[in-house]
Point group: C2
Chain length 343, copies 2
DNA sequence: ACCCTTGTTTCCAACGTTATACAAGACGGA
DNA sequence: TCCGTCTTGTATAACGTTGGAAACAAGGGT
């Protein structure tokens, strides 16, 4: 049977509250009492019941993280970073994945494990503004990822337009001019909702290169298979780009597989830049040039947004919502630079 | 402010317990009362407070899952499967990673978020039998992964020896004879603790092929970089295997990168078999032949071991501990079969 | 000798829920 | 009519914790 404060109190011959005070490091306790209680705690092996504590205090010490898909290494790596960042604040992470379905995203925002979590970090894909506006749960919510909503919730992301421009600039600097964009939304390929697509357009425009609509390839999802399908479709349509900027590394990797199958060399025939800096991209036959978002910073900012709001709640401080920006770097590898000869 | 049973009770003009009865679908309630209460619940937007419920019932509905590293896609994919399996039983998953450190594994078993979790699924790497034996927390624990402990906890795994033998058999059937094993434990490379290494030995012995110690390459970890280092060390030592069986896909991928850098062709010069069936292995320049453990089955069995023990606890049923075995298949791809010519 | 302060401990109530015991009414059989 | 049984609802007491107020002791100033 579980040992409670009551058991310890009886054993030590003091009141329950005194034991509680010792456990919570209340300052005004005589050393002798403290020692007596501590000994009782140790002998009985007392461990506080967090459920009861949380019922009393109204906090659980648990943050939920909802990402689209753990099978995508970017989200897996991000989840790892969030777990570490949360641990630094004595929080534990409850994880869920939405599989990119609007319905599941909605479910999560509406009150996933209501009452059990102190806050929610969500990376939405399909969610619409009105879905979020209808949210009733009062736990702090922080959004991460590319999509932006005009709503009173903190948002953590990198500057996607600047990052995309840096990627495209790199390709332009290498002399490439027919730069395809792989990963437009399938349902509205021409009217972009992507910041990354906007960045592609902006950089091309700034350099006076025509943005050819035929070089924008839509995808049905964000996996390797979708990248492969998009690349195949592009080539089948007779397009012959000399570079590809992919929405993310998985799409780039799928695309590179198709190039390899069709005898196209990377980077000689087609240079490739991805996005996310997956470890996977460092070990292919051709290593992948990519935009590397600072995942640790994203995780840290998201966690601290939650903890900050929780602290602010106590203080009655209705802090304004913020757009938090994490850094990124462009990592140049073989898919744009070529491989150095062996030896 | 949060609405509680009390508020609903006042609004509906009944007692708190009656509302509770309605919420919990207690059968003996007159339709009129039920409807009245239900209307009150709907108008006030009542949502049960799980913390309080769990304090009362002694169950939280949360299962913890501790894996070594989320950055390893195998564990990420497995975590996804566990989340789904748990959801099927109305459980939520709290996730932690141990980073393969014995200390963190110990911490997790000792009482990670004590009292908040109903059960723990742990994939140990470094933990020793005595660590687990010293565990005091009473929540059910189920172990997954290759390592076996002689302890009263359920264990879920595939038949690693049989799986390894199937992989080696495949290579032997292709006519390979100098089959390296990549991924022995660095601290004791010759005295194997690996079931997979045992399987390699067993199959070679069964076919009368000498198991050359020089072909067993130790690793410091289980990542791509470790596979690359091990392969480089093997080649630098002057060994020239005609096939490689890697402890897992990441090691295989790291090794293949080194082969590619040194101008060795896969599978013509060296055939490669991995283990885990990561999606990543399907999209390299050379797709990877691999042993595919049934992750869904592993996740399901682990979750059901926990839920079963929780149910048994109520019944006072001290069920015997079990060794649960999930299935596997050998997936043949280009790294052993070669690529079909384009077109 | 008395009051006030300061430090230490105890008592009580509450967090929101469910289990247990019980009360009130309805119903059927003798 | 009376009693036992069944149905439906209520009152009360937990679950283990903490916050606040009250109680108690000891010491210092008047």
């Amino acid at each position: 049977m579980r040992v409670s404060l009551k058991d310890v109190a009886e054993y030590a011959g003091v009141s329950i509250k005194t034991v509680s005070n010792v456990v919570n490091k209340y300052p005004h306790i005589t050393p002798s009492t403290r020692e007596k209680v501590q000994r009782a705690i140790d002998t009985l092996g007392y461990r506080p019941n967090l459920t009861a504590r949380h019922l009393r205090k109204g906090r659980t010490g648990i943050i939920a993280l909802a990402v689209p898909e753990l099978g995508n290494p970017y989200f897996a790596e991000l989840a790892g970073a969030v777990i570490d960042a949360a641990a630094a604040h004595d929080y534990t992470v409850l994880l869920d994945h939405t599989q990119g379905s609007r319905e599941r995203e909605l479910l999560v925002t509406q009150g996933f494990q209501a009452q059990v979590i102190d806050g929610l970090i969500l990376n939405p894909l399909e969610l619409e503004t009105e879905d979020l506006a209808a949210r009733t749960d009062s736990a702090p919510l922080v959004l991460i990822g590319e999509r932006r909503y005009d709503l009173p919730h903190d948002h953590v992301a990198i500057d996607n337009i600047a990052a995309a421009r840096a990627a495209v600039r790199h390709l332009l600097d290498l002399g490439r001019r027919r730069i395809a964009f792989l990963g437009a939304r399938g349902d509205r390929p021409s009217q972009p909702s992507h910041l990354r697509l906007l960045g592609w357009q902006a950089e091309l425009a700034a350099r006076g290169v025509k943005a050819d609509d035929g070089l924008v390839a839509p995808v049905d999802g964000w996996e390797r298979a979708d990248g492969a399908a998009a690349m195949a479709a592009l080539l089948d349509a007779g397009e012959r780009p000399d570079a590809v900027f992919a929405y993310n590394d998985l799409i780039a990797i799928g695309a590179m597989r198709v190039m390899s199958e069709r005898g196209l060399r990377v980077p000689e025939d087609i240079a490739v830049v991805g996005f996310d800096d997956l470890t996977e991209g460092r070990y292919g036959a051709v290593t992948l040039t990519t935009v590397a978002p600072d995942k640790q910073a994203i995780a840290r900012m998201a966690v601290e947004s939650i903890t900050g709001r929780l602290a602010g709640k106590d203080a009655g401080d209705g802090a304004a919502t913020r757009q938090l920006q994490a850094g990124f770097t462009l990592v140049e590898r073989e898919s744009t630079r070529g491989r150095r000869p062996p030896g």
